[in-house]
């Protein structure tokens, strides 16, 4: 398996730093539940990044990491839904809890293929929400242009999730080493997109 390089470590450190900075200074402006959702999303991102720095790419093979990392797009999209489409929040919360339970159960009770497809499905839906909702909000004139960066971040983090999930399929989208070399870059750009977008919305 590809060893984690110095550049990877620098990018991961910057990802953790940017996210930590936003957790400390950026979340005060939101309502309680949105703060909670974003704290969980950024928090799991920070911990995942620290684990990657400490353990290398092998940590991504741990089922628990894959399951917990699902919280990043789920809670991030929940935060956005609550803020901008509150009438759908309860429905989406039920979907998120159900989706998470399905990921958890399929990971431990079914074949790899079923577990992977469940992960791609839930990751995909939450990723599409994070990607499309900012565009919708911008077009409606509710937020500034910079909010589109959140969508870019969402697209990247979902792409990362789908790439990782595909590793468990017979024909992954890319070779494992190629995917591993992309992970730090995707995480860095995604966190940058989230922080720029949310700070300047």
């Amino acid at each position: 398996m590809k060893k984690i390089s110095v550049l990877d470590r620098i990018l991961l450190f910057l990802t953790a730093f940017i996210s930590a900075y936003y957790v400390v200074n950026g979340l005060e402006k939101y309502q309680g539940i949105v703060t909670l959702y974003f704290t969980i999303a950024f928090g799991i991102l920070i911990i995942t990044v620290i684990f990657l720095i400490l353990f290398g790419f092998e940590i991504l093979n741990e089922p628990i990491i894959v399951v917990v990392a699902t919280f990043i797009p789920l809670t991030f999209s929940l935060g956005l839904i609550y803020k901008y489409l509150r009438e759908y929040h309860l429905f989406y919360l039920i979907f998120s809890i159900g989706g998470f339970l399905i990921i958890l159960l399929t990971r431990y009770l079914t074949s790899k293929k079923v577990a992977t497809l469940a992960l791609i499905f839930v990751h995909g839906i939450s990723g599409v929400i994070i990607f499309l909702l900012p565009i919708f909000i911008y077009v409606k004139g509710i937020s500034s242009f910079y909010f589109l960066f959140v969508g870019i971040g969402g697209g990247l983090i979902s792409f990362k999730g789908i790439l990782l999930s595909s590793l468990r399929l017979t024909n992954p989208i890319l070779a494992q080493n190629r995917i591993n070399s992309l992970i730090p870059k995707l995480l860095f750009l995604a966190s940058l997109g989230f922080v720029i977008g949310l700070s300047l919305e």
Binding site: V24, N25, G43, I46, I47
Partner: protein, 288 residues
Amino acid sequence: MKMINKKLKFYWIMIKPFQTGLLLLTGVTGFISSRCLVINFGKFSGLILSLLLTIGGSTVLNMVFDRDIDLKMLRTMRRPIPSGKIRAKEAFLIGIIMCIIGLILAFSLSFLYGILIFAGILFDVFVYTIWLKRKTSWSIFWGGISGAMPILAGRTLGIGYIDTIGIMFALSILLWIPTHIMTFNMLYFNDYKKAGIPTFPSKYGFKNTRVVIALSSVGASIAIGIGITALGLSWGYLRLLAILSAGLFGLAIMSVLKPSEKINFGLFKYASLYMLIAMLMTAIGSVS
């Protein structure tokens, strides 16, 4: 000149720069957390110098008293004293001089601060290293008390008395130290066994040790959380601390449920990083 450089290099190794640096940082954080109204260059540099000399000096003294053990352990046998690069008598003298100068400086800054620094040396060198390290696996508790002294001393120097926040910060270090040392004990289990040092893993087994690590990491997180809350730091810092604590706890749980050398070493590194970030956060949060 070459000779002096070489000696300095050996002494640099002997003061364990990373460990001393981390303890120094806790002391400085304790001081900054006091938001001391009268911060001047003399007081601040006196704090740094006194901590550096006493922590470094007591570490050198520990190496003198542990030289026979160090020689038996693969991890430590190349240290300057067991490998014969520095004579034990010379190191003893240097260690004593460093401690005495550090203590004079500490007492000149504040009597209470000096007492706490003296207590730190006493617990570290005499109670932990000389008296209990070879007798009981519980010696790390006393080592932990000495490790907790710099942050308590730093805060006490700033506010002039010992308060609950200082005690909470000290407690967090005291509880963090088992996470740090016991992971090390498991990682170098055979080394410690060979040297005849009683450790938690050798006395209570790996499984129980991992449970203790998990519990102590939760305790350390709670203690520092209470300290930071009582200090009045913003919610942002508490959120970040909660996140990092969740990571620490998660890793400790992983080490219990799915033990491996890699997870153990990762926990060891995470615990150090956790404390480093918690200290930086407290310091930055106190002045911002």
